[in-house]
């Protein structure tokens, strides 16, 4: 009797959250799967059922492939660079004796809390032909290196650099917190045994924070696939789709930025692909990398 009473209380406490979450989050998510099977412009009430034709069209759409390629480029190369840098920063900042470590940590993390649209605008001027980067190069008499950084050739690399700079702090603070939880005795013993700093890092630190590293990788995968604001405000996916990702593609198709038709079914189908990528990415990472956590 008391058990039932407790369950009722719990559900009462949970009711508002579940109601809002169910109606405005879960329902649209499921509905999206359904909408992706329709040809639908959004403004007319008629939705035409076309089965998987949206997905077939996606598979033949060169711009979708371009966006998918870019998405995977940011996901892999961005991931390798960002996470290595984050691990490096975290390792350096975990030394208690380092003067100014809290300041460094705060500065590296700062772009994470800054409004992304603002970062995008700063980036636009930073990479602008008459902007900061070329200005620096000119004043250093390195005029040869000045370039059109957001032009068709280099835009994707400039974007990659911007993404790394803006997001590395997030992974760093999580890794740092993981490292700081390791009892110092391990490193001390290893040092007495004559292990060098790199040995300690690879043999002790990394194995001991392995589950934190996996968490950070999963966060990265989700974040990188979802990323929208920075890319949209910096280049809108351009020039000529050079920096478009599936996330950008979904919005552009569904809300009529490619052609003046709202292709809501088609755009949502791309959103479904994005969701599948998130599940695949996170699932694969977990099943391949997750090991028994080391207890300490």
């Amino acid at each position: 009797m008391r058990r039932i009473h407790r369950s009722m209380t719990a559900l009462l406490f949970l009711a508002p959250a579940l109601l809002v979450y169910g109606i405005f989050f879960i329902y649209p998510a499921i509905r999206a799967l359904y909408i992706s099977l329709f040809d639908w412009s959004g403004f007319i009430p008629v939705m035409k059922y076309i089965g998987i034709k949206n997905f077939i069209e996606l598979s033949k759409d060169p711009i979708f492939w371009k966006s998918l390629k870019n998405t995977l480029f940011f996901l892999f190369f961005g991931g390798i660079i960002t996470l290595s840098l984050a691990l490096l920063f975290a390792a350096l900042l975990s030394k208690k004796k380092l003067w100014g470590r809290r300041f460094f940590r705060a500065v590296i993390f700062f772009p994470v809390v800054t409004p992304t649209v603002g970062l995008g605008i700063i980036g636009t001027f930073f990479f602008n032909p008459n902007g900061i980067l070329n200005g620096v190069l000119n004043s250093l008499h390195l005029d040869i290196l000045t370039n059109s950084w957001l032009g068709p050739k280099l835009a994707i690399y400039s974007m990659l650099a911007a993404i790394i700079w803006a997001t590395v702090g997030f992974s760093m603070v999580i890794l740092l917190a993981g490292i700081e939880k390791i009892p110092e005795t391990y490193a001390e013993v290893a040092e007495l045994e004559g292990a060098g700093e790199t040995t300690i890092f690879f043999r002790i630190t990394i194995p001991m924070i392995w589950d934190v590293i996996v968490t950070v990788i999963i966060f990265w995968i989700i974040g990188a696939l979802k990323m929208f604001e920075l890319i949209y405000t910096l280049t809108q996916g351009g020039p000529n789709w050079a920096t478009s990702t599936i996330s950008i593609f979904t919005y552009i198709e569904a809300f009529g930025q490619r052609e003046t038709i709202y292709r809501m079914g088609y755009g949502t189908a791309a959103g479904v692909v994005l969701f599948v990528l998130v599940i695949l990415g996170a699932g694969l990472t977990m099943s391949l990398l997750r090991r028994e956590a080391i207890e300490y």
Binding site: R6, A10, P16, A17, A29, L93, P115, F219, Y251
Partner: protein, 290 residues
Amino acid sequence: MTEISRNYFLRSRNGIKNFARSWLSYVILVPWCAFTVLIFLWLITASLKTNRELYSNLWGIPSTLTWENFTHAWSVAHIGTYFSNSIFIVAIAMAATILISSMGAYALARISFRGSTFILYSLIGGMGIPVQLLLVPLFMLLAKMHLVNQPLGLIVAYVAYLLPFSVFLLVGFFRTIPMEIEESAAMDGASDFTIFRKIMMPLAAPGLITALIFDFITLWNEYLLALVILGKPKNWTVSLGLYNLNVAMGSTADWVSLFAGVVIIMLPSMLLYIFLSDRIISGLTLGATK
């Protein structure tokens, strides 16, 4: 060699070694941080220049401080209106989120009942669902409810959007509070609601504040949902307004007002960050390293 001088020798050798090691750390950390600091300092100086000076004197400090950029961004470019729209929308969404997510998190963390794990994972799993997937159905749902173009429409979307992370964070906090306190309160005959209101909420205050800060930063920066849900400029939030100013800049070339706008919308997060960066960072890592 006497014992003392030998110790001294060893210690100074360690000192040099430490310095050599830190020296390498500084070589990596200082350029990165200097770049970041300089970018934001540059932004602030640029927002006080005239457009002409922006190019003629790209690096220097402005010869006269052009505060007009700020008044221009604030009133002519309507950043002021967007600013108060954002405050209104964000404040209500935050209050609603914190209320319902703390209630939910309390039930999930403190009451054991069948299905609690399932509900917890379903809620937290929302963090993995890309908003892009929801855009169209959510837009249609809100249209049916006549909430498109309405601040209220964005508010409910924001509450749903914040729930997974807020619940995740707060469940972590509630679990750190010792059970004995509420057990003894229950012995004294206090109901769950009394325990929640009178005991748990005050004890979880640091957690609630962390969640509030996070919710604020997330919503203040949010762009995509606002872009889809709010059509009419008079309801726009700061991110939308600023981005639109950026697009308009293509024809006006008024960079300095745009920079002033960026400074204005960065100000709240910057101030929060200066005073609370430790709390923000430790709050974030609490859940993630568990």
